[in-house]
Amino acid sequence: MSRGPSLQLDDTGRLRHFLTIDGLNRELLTEILDTAEGFAGVSERTVKKVPICRGKIVANLFFENSTRTRTTFELAGKRLSADVLNLNITASSTSKGETLLDTLRNLEAMHVDMFVVRHAVSGAAHFIARHAAPGVGVINAGDGRHAHPTQAMLDMFTIRRHKGEFTGLRVAIVGDILHSRVARSQILALNTLGVSEVRVIAPRTLLPVEARSLGVHIYHDMDEGIRDVDVVIMLRLQKERMQGAMLPSEHEYYRLFGLTEARLAAADSEAIVMHPGPINRGVEMSSEVADGSRSVILQQVSYGIAVRMAVISIIIGTQNQQSQDNKG
């Protein structure tokens, strides 16, 4: 049985699914970033697409709503000349796993070449990859609290664009690490790409008990944690954390962990500010910072398309070759 990371690599070490950053090496992550550079200019042309995935069908299988992520995947697929199907499947119609498999089989019967999967349950993308027919690639577009690897890679792309390289960088991730698939993937990617330090800044209620084992330094004090960092990544705070006795109030959270110009002054003078969006202004950060000169939040969105084009095309390339090999 395929387990964990090996599920996403073929026997020559090439990417056939993109489920998690876990188990991928620096060369592979760099290859994704380099390929994304190649795609970055496509959106500035008269014809904003390349023919590389012509005739391929990419199905966006979204069990959880996310207009933004779905839209960037859709654009990425279309710019590669693939046909893109959008399937929003509400939780009520698939509370059981058998329906998930049924959905998969139905789409495979339509000769879909790739699934982009967003699901509220951790491990959903692994499950689908394990059951997908040979030649069908799976991209995890966010599963529960587990992983959101394309978001992490677009963040890495943004950092590399602004900072040149990863070596020597200090990166702080602020907020709800416990529930964040984005943070888990970012931490793995940053460490794999060789930054010098990853810090997480949060109250204990928003940190996993074994957070340190993820490879981070833990801070509970924002002013201390942000000192001299080159990159500040703010995470989104879900409103329901107030109900779950995780935090007393948004007000206190902002007072202790909100990013303001004054706080940002302690970071490196060239520090950039990132956020996976959508921002809660006045909860995670002030509008001043969100719209300020250090913010690269909107660039993250546009880089997201190039990064997703890179991942889709690399995987379709690997899967194609595998089916060619099987025929041969």
Partner: protein
Amino acid sequence: MNSSNKISILQGRLIDPANGVDRVTDIHIENGKVAAIGEAPAGFQTATIIHGNDKVVCPGIIDLCVNLREPGAEYKATIASETAAAAHSGITTLCCPPDTLPVIDTPAIAGQIKHKARKAGYCRVLPLGAQTQELKGEKLSEMAALKEAGCIAISNNYAPLANTLVQRRALEYAATFDLLTIIRSNDRHLSDHGCAHEGKVADRLGLPVIPEAAETVAVARDLALAQTTGAAIHFHTLSSASAAHTLAWARREKRRVTADVAVHQLHLTEMDIEGFDSNAHVLPPLRSTGDRDGLRQAVAENIISAICSDHQPHEADAKAAPFPATEPGISGLDTLLPLTIKLVHEGVMDLATAIARLTIGPAEILGLPLGRLQVGATADICIFDPDTYWTVVPDQLTSQGKNTPFGGWELPGIVTHTLLEGRIVYQRD
């Protein structure tokens, strides 16, 4: 009495930990009882001879937790299918927890299960009565009636009582009728909707967690309530080393408390859920290697005096979903004895101790005169080859449930004969 119910097992290695026996000898059985050990009684005309050479002969295994799935979930397994699998695995007595559909909270359901088991004829089935009506944790069940209908003990199984006052009263009421209360300790609020041990692996995989404290808090609470009420309690399927420590203290204090552990907890850890393997999704969750080692030690030292299968057969669909959305549990009958013998091969305990945890240990917890093989004892017997290895192939399990994380494992121990009350209920071809 004709000679057809006379059986002699010749030259087997008899291991009967309850009586301190471990020697090669003969056993003669008549009328469902052990008639003699060593020389046959004068005039004993045996009808069936079983050659025990190179095999271990021990009391039939008593499994404290086997979900039969009937009534209510016959698509997963049936009383007939699972009692046959039990016989195949050397198990002669099993307890079935009350969370059937309908729940075992009336004498009628308990009676129905016992009747079907008797009809199948493979294994002695002892139902556990529900602690509360429909297992809802609100109103007490009719425990006295359940006892009269054959329920050996009382349990709320996977729905341990969240309301401490109801728990206290349920313990008091059970104690009135000298009924043992079996508890799967789990603080419902702390475990929330978790599905994995709160530790490195779940933190990395982003799985909702069940902290160790969900067990230790509940164990501490129920020990205090048992002390107050004078009730006898049994902790079922402990999963943490901390809970085992607390239990060791309680046993030193001579509290009326016992415990068992599921055999998979003695082999697997949180690492086994890597890759979101839903076959390793169990409740309580697989914990750290420290927990596994602590549990092994507690079993070796008889702080935990029974090992059970915590058998939970499932249909394939129950495991065919993303990890948190799958149903927990392992189909464990086939692997109970082999995994226990594996502990012997790994130096955790000697063979006699291992057998004790499967026989006299659970018998004493339940207050049954079983799990021992002196002259006059009920002839529930398991005969197995302890040194031959076999490979676990999930699809070839005898249980109707093929859900096991042990697929591909090489395990020692093959059962060759199972005798229930002097009757051969399983014989290997």
